[in-house]
């Protein structure tokens, strides 16, 4: 029963991850793609935790923690890079009224 629950949640989170990747590839603006990436990182983190509990190995949980930290740093770097590129031209801040 408990293995059934964990397996079902793993498949569900895999489906969510596929949909997030779809959102990332089909999103029109950069903000849409970043939103997809934000959700995707959380979903993959939960998937790794479930996989570790299902297999009974603590190694997956260590990988999940490091993935979370580096994913967050990478996300920060991407957003910073894009923001620098945008704010070269204007520094009004906010959409036009």
């Amino acid at each position: 029963m408990r293995h059934l629950l964990l397996d079902f949640m793993q498949w569900f989170l895999l489906g969510c991850a596929v949909l997030c990747v779809l959102r990332m590839t089909t999103g029109k603006t950069a903000a849409d793609k970043l939103t997809g990436l934000n959700v995707l990182s959380g979903v993959v983190l939960a998937f790794l935790v479930l996989r570790g509990v299902r297999q009974g190995r603590a190694l997956y949980l260590d990988v999940a923690l490091v993935y979370d930290i580096f994913g967050f740093l990478g996300f920060l770097a991407i957003a910073h890079f894009l923001e620098d590129k945008i704010s070269e031209g204007n520094d009004r801040g906010g959409p036009p009224a």
Binding site: R2, L19, A30, A31, N38, V49, G56
Partner: protein, 133 residues
């Protein structure tokens, strides 16, 4: 007995994770502008993923795993809202307008009521103007 309690907690938390996950993914695809999509996405991220952590915590086989899951959960609670904030600031700085509902033409009854209210207000304002000079 203990196993039954753990299974019940895991079942409830995984059920809420499924509900919130489906809601968040649907919102991610169906909402009209990046801000509301971000709201749906971060809702899905925080609630669904954190419920999954709680369920995994209830099912964890030993204390070493439980402690790791708690640490991951704390770090996730710090990093996920920060990421959402960064995306929202990025969208705001790149001049994306928030969505507004389209103007719907009023029904006949509502339009009559609005005109009546307008007339009444106009008369009152006119009275005021007549009195002041």
């Amino acid at each position: 007995m203990m196993e039954t309690i753990r299974m019940t907690i895991a079942f409830l938390t995984f059920g809420s994770a499924v509900i919130f996950g489906i809601a968040g993914i649907v919102g991610l695809f169906r909402f009209p502008d990046p801000y509301s999509r971000l709201q749906a996405g971060s809702l899905c991220g925080t609630t669904a993923v954190f419920s999954t952590f709680l369920g995994a915590l209830a099912l964890s086989p030993n204390w070493a795993m439980a402690a790791r899951i708690i640490i991951i959960g704390f770090f996730f609670l710090v990093s996920s809202p920060t990421g959402s904030h960064i995306v929202a600031r990025f969208a705001w700085n790149s001049d994306i307008m928030p969505w507004k509902p389209p103007a719907v033409p009023l029904k006949k009854k509502d339009r009559a009521k609005k005109i009546r209210r307008k007339n009444r207000r106009g008369k009152q304002a006119g009275d005021g103007q007549e009195e002041t000079p």
